[in-house]
């Protein structure tokens, strides 16, 4: 996994939230390598940029969701995936845990939570 880059891929289909996340990440002196709105874009971006961390929204535009994308990225790239979701429904949580999430964050996301989580995941 040493070939991964110190950057973060943001997967979020809502532009404003994606932008907000980018700003938050950048405030922490981290680099955002790309922002993807669909699962396919996310997988392509991950394979192109090989980010160390992916911030993954659960609900995505298109047929596939965040878990589909996360599984593919985990297998092909090996990035750590932090899920960011607005929902804490049991069905959603069960779906997330079919993958191997590094962490799960709930919207709205505070700077503190984001920073702490990213630091923890990088330390793994």
């Amino acid at each position: 996994m040493n070939d991964l880059h110190d950057c973060i891929l943001i997967v979020e289909d809502e532009f404003l939230i994606a932008e907000g996340l980018r700003f938050q990440v950048e405030e922490m002196s981290q680099t955002v390598c790309a922002i993807a709105a669909t699962a396919e874009e996310a997988i392509a971006a991950a394979q192109a940029h090989r980010p160390r961390i992916v911030l993954m929204d659960m609900r995505l535009r298109g047929e596939k969701d965040g878990v589909d994308a996360a599984l593919a990225i985990y297998e092909t790239v090996g990035s750590k995936v932090i899920f960011v979701t607005g929902s804490r429904e049991p069905a959603t949580m069960a779906r997330i845990h079919t993958d191997h999430p590094a962490a799960v964050l709930f919207k709205p996301l505070s700077d503190r939570q984001l920073r702490n989580t990213i630091e923890e995941v990088l330390a793994l």
């Binding site: 404003l16 907000g20 700003f23 405030e27 709205p108 700077d111």
Partner: protein, 531 residues
């Protein structure tokens, strides 16, 4: 010659003494002997007559009288022989002799044929012997009598005993018969008058032998109309097969009783529900079925009520299902709404982040950051609601912990310790949102004003006072700032202060601030009304 002459002196004959030459010795000898003989001959018959008279039991007594007459006649001849010694009364003497001859001949003639019969008469010795024997046999007879009497007594006793037993047995039998009759009467009465239907059926043909009024009326008939009819024809057609199957098992002895809830066919063609309990009466020796007896309870109303109840229950179940589905849909919708609210808050947060980056002014930047923590409080309330089972209330303690931690860690440059203690309290949206905003403002204030230099501790406490009201306390051990315009009443206050004032008032609360070794802000609130 006269008769008297003939009798006393015929033809002048000489007396007999003359023949004796009147010799005195000879004449005396004759005369004396004849006197003695004659007297004896008169005495003997007298004795004989006396004897016969005394012994009337003597057989052939009349023969003795012949002897009496004959001896008297002989005696008379001897007396006449004396007379003729001196008087020639030969006529008289001859007549007497004639009489004597007749009597003698008669006696002799009778005596001979009588001889064997008289000889056959028992002698005295024989009689004595006979008597002895009689006495012996009498004794024997007495003995045997005694024995007989004893046996008679015994038999009598036996008989009496047997009689007593018989009487008793008869009495018992009579009682048993009475009891039987009473039982029969009672059975009949209970059969006829029972409120439940009772039937007796021939187990082989299935025909009614006896039915009571209750049963007949249940089917709309008179009892007489049903006697002899095939019982199965009064069972509702759809229930016959099952009934026959059950009855066959009863008849074969596989089961000893038979219970069925089944429909009978009423006279008007309508079904009527009955509960039949049946059994078979069998011959105790051969075990052959003799009679099938049944009790039929009219359960029509119960069954109909049951059916109605069942229908109601089905309706209710359908309603419950519909409600459950509606509720599930509502829950789904509610979760979706919460999700959307959170997503929108995230959008707002993103806008604030983006806007803050555009600002150069530090004060303006800080104001936007303050807005972000307020938005976070709103988001967190929805987040808690989504995780609760009823989607409408949640426990306040973890919420306060999460909320305070976020403010402290997001806003503190120094090393600030946070202590959150809250009673378990279920709160809804209406209570949680102002409470969350109040805590956000108060903790933010403490961070901003209490610790200009160096570390400290912030306590967030939620307690229940003795008056039942809820007390929210946010206290710090920093420098006092209560007189500062951050909270001071009547002082031109900032946004935070007016938010606090307004929310306390909205919640019907009272706030008191004390500055003693830091600042302690206590807000007393009415308990949240469980929604």
């Amino acid at each position: 010659m006269s008769i008297w002459d003939w009798l006393l002196n015929p033809s002048g004959l000489t007396p007999h003494g003359f023949c004796l030459s009147w010799a005195p010795g000879l004449a005396s000898l004759h005369a004396g002997s004849d006197v003695v003989i004659g007297l004896s001959y008169f005495s003997i018959p007298l004795a004989i007559a006396a004897l016969v008279r005394r012994r009337p039991d003597l057989q052939y007594g009349w023969v003795a009288y012949l002897f009496v007459a004959f001896i008297l006649a002989c005696g008379t001849t001897h007396l006449l022989a004396i007379l003729t010694l001196w008087v020639p009364a030969y006529g008289v003497e001859g007549l007497i002799k004639l009489v004597t001859a007749v009597l003698s001949v008669a006696t002799a003639a009778i005596l001979w044929p009588l001889l064997p019969r008289v000889a056959a008469l028992p002698s005295a010795a024989q009689l004595e012997h006979l008597n002895l024997r009689l006495r012996d046999s009498e004794a024997e007879a007495r003995l045997s009598n005694l024995e007989l009497e004893r046996r008679v007594a015994e038999r009598t006793e036996q008989l009496e005993r047997a009689n007593a037993q018989l009487t008793k047995a008869l009495a018992e039998r009579s009682q048993a018969q009475q009891a039987l009759a009473r039982n029969e009467a009672e059975y009949r009465a209970s059969f006829e008058a029972a409120a439940v239907g009772k039937i007796q059926t021939d187990p082989l043909t299935g025909r009614y032998i006896r039915v009571n009024r209750a049963f007949a009326q249940m089917l709309g008939y008179e009892p007489e109309e049903l006697i002899g009819k095939d019982g199965w024809s009064f069972t509702w057609p759809d229930d016959r097969d099952d009934g026959r199957e059950g009855f066959a098992r009863l008849l074969s002895g596989e089961v000893s009783t038979y219970h069925r809830e089944k429909r009978y066919l009423r006279r008007d063609g309508q079904p009527v529900w009955g509960r039949l309990s049946g059994s078979i009466v069998r011959d105790p020796d051969t075990n052959e079925p003799l009679l099938s007896v049944g009790v039929v309870e009219d359960i029509d109303e119960r069954r109909k009520a049951q059916a109605a109840l069942e229908e109601t229950r089905r309706d209710l179940e359908a309603m419950v299902e519909a409600r459950t589905t509606a509720l599930a849909q509502r829950d789904l919708l509610l979760r979706e709404v919460y999700h959307r609210v959170k997503n929108n808050l995230q959008v707002v947060d993103s806008l604030l982040v983006m806007q803050a980056r555009q600002l150069a002014d530090a004060t303006a930047k800080a104001a936007l950051l303050g807005l972000r923590s307020r938005v976070y409080a709103l988001g967190l309330v929805h987040h808690q609601l989504m995780g609760s089972a009823n989607l409408s209330t949640f426990d306040v303690a973890p919420f306060l912990q999460e909320l305070s931690t976020n403010v402290v860690e997001g806003g503190a440059d120094q090393d600030i310790a946070l202590n959150v203690e809250a009673i378990p309290l279920e709160v809804g949206l209406d209570f949680a949102i102002p409470l969350g905003l109040l805590v956000t403002e108060l903790v933010t204030n403490a961070l901003k004003h209490a610790f200009p230099a160096g570390p400290g501790t912030i306590d967030v406490l939620l307690e229940r006072g003795a008056d039942g009201r809820i007390a929210l306390i946010v206290a710090d051990n920093g420098v006092g700032y209560a007189a500062d315009d951050a909270l001071g009443d009547g002082v031109a206050a900032g946004l935070g202060a007016s938010i606090i004032k307004g929310l306390v008032s909205q919640m019907g609360g009272v706030m008191s601030v004390t500055a003693n070794n830091g600042t302690r802000c206590e807000i007393r609130l009415a308990s949240p009304v469980a929604s």
